[in-house]
């Protein structure tokens, strides 16, 4: 059942990326090209996505637990550190080069275009490379269990939100 939800949400996510033009690297580069012919498409996609998810979140955060799982796995990390900033900066440089972020790149695999295939191959190599570094080890950060994408602890949303928020 949870796998079905994962499949369905992945499918709708890809439809949204395609409809929003996010699978066209030229649109991303156009958004980032503030000195050229600026393309605001991404702003509208982000507004639609954040607007929708923000409204949903206001309701979801009041649920004791997810419909199909014991707890919400929401990042609790609050520290703004070098790791966050450096990672985002490296990501941004790669994003500006290829015009692909991970979701659209994976989705674009179906086009069979060599550029998409090569980019995804390199991207997965980048992920694997990170896992080889000490930071990529699951045991590297014992005091920070709430990294959003490693071993996040399951906590009910209300518990997560009882802590001071960082916003």
């Amino acid at each position: 059942m949870r796998n079905g939800v994962a499949f369905g949400t992945g499918l709708v996510f890809a439809l949204g990326l395609g409809l929003g033009g996010m699978t066209q690297p030229a649109r991303i580069i156009g958004f980032l090209d503030v000195a050229g012919q600026w393309d605001p498409t991404l702003v509208f996609v982000l507004a639609g996505a954040v607007g929708t998810h923000m409204l949903a979140w206001r309701w979801i955060r009041r649920q004791r637990h997810p419909v199909l799982a014991a707890g919400f796995q929401i990042p609790r990390e609050r520290l703004i550190d070098t790791r966050l900033v450096l990672g985002a900066a490296l990501f941004g440089v790669g994003w500006g080069i290829g015009g692909y972020c991970p979701g659209p790149a994976i989705t674009a695999l179906v086009s069979g275009h060599p550029v998409a295939l090569a980019f995804v191959g390199a991207m997965l190599a980048g992920v694997a490379l990170f896992d080889l570094t000490p930071l990529g080890s699951p045991r590297a950060l014992p005091a920070r269990p709430a990294q959003p994408d490693t071993a996040a602890q399951a906590v009910p949303a209300h518990e997560e939100l009882s802590a001071p928020t960082d916003a």
């Binding site: 939800v5 994962a6 949400t9 499918l11 709708v12 996510f13 890809a14 439809l15 395609g18 409809l19 929003g20 033009g21 996010m22 699978t23 066209q24 580069i29 980032l32 000195a35 050229g36 498409t41 991404l42 509208f44 996505a49 954040v50 607007g51 998810h53 949903a56 979140w57 979801i60 997810p66 990042p75 609050r78 703004i80 790791r83 966050l84 990672g87 985002a88 490296l90 990501f91 941004g92 440089v93 994003w95 500006g96 692909y100 991970p102 994976i106 674009a108 550029v115 998409a116 090569a118 980019f119 191959g121 390199a122 991207m123 992920v127 490379l129 990170f130 896992d131 990294q147 994408d149």
Partner: protein, 142 residues
């Protein structure tokens, strides 16, 4: 940019927001693509299967888009192969180091009002803008 492009972009965004919300509401998971990918490459029992189902969903959705509008995957950006590959590595490595990408920080994190995600989104957008300025204007071509 035409009115219909604005509408389809907004609608596309709404679909992304709905998908992210459903994954959180039903499975309690953040729809951060780089996190999902990172976990998919590192098998942990119970943590692994759903990620591949999500990726399969992305690909199936991609096929549907391709069937209706193959132009949605047009690549009008020309970078040299070494540069393109370096870009891919940076996106994969940077997203993992920074604990998220455009979906995890840019959509999910901003929606929850996470300060970390606001910083990450500002930094990767600025870095992307500088990169495009250097490649497309200073070096003209890349």
């Amino acid at each position: 940019m035409t009115g219909s492009t604005i509408l389809s972009s907004l609608l596309g965004g709404v679909l992304i927001g709905l998908a992210s919300s459903a994954l959180l509401l039903f499975n309690g998971r953040i729809a951060g693509i780089s996190g999902i990918l990172g976990g998919a490459l590192r098998p942990v029992a119970g943590e692994w299967g759903w990620r591949w189902w999500f990726v399969a969903g992305l690909l199936t959705g991609g096929l549907a888009v391709y069937a209706v509008a193959p132009g949605a995957f047009a690549i009008a950006v020309h970078r040299s192969w070494p540069l393109l590959l370096a870009g891919g590595v940076l996106v994969g490595f940077g997203a993992r180091l920074g604990s998220g990408c455009t979906s995890g920080h840019g959509v999910c994190g901003l929606s929850r009002g996470s300060a970390r995600s606001w910083v990450a989104t500002a930094v990767f957008t600025a870095a992307g803008m500088v990169t495009v300025f250097v490649l497309n204007h200073l070096l003209a071509g890349g």
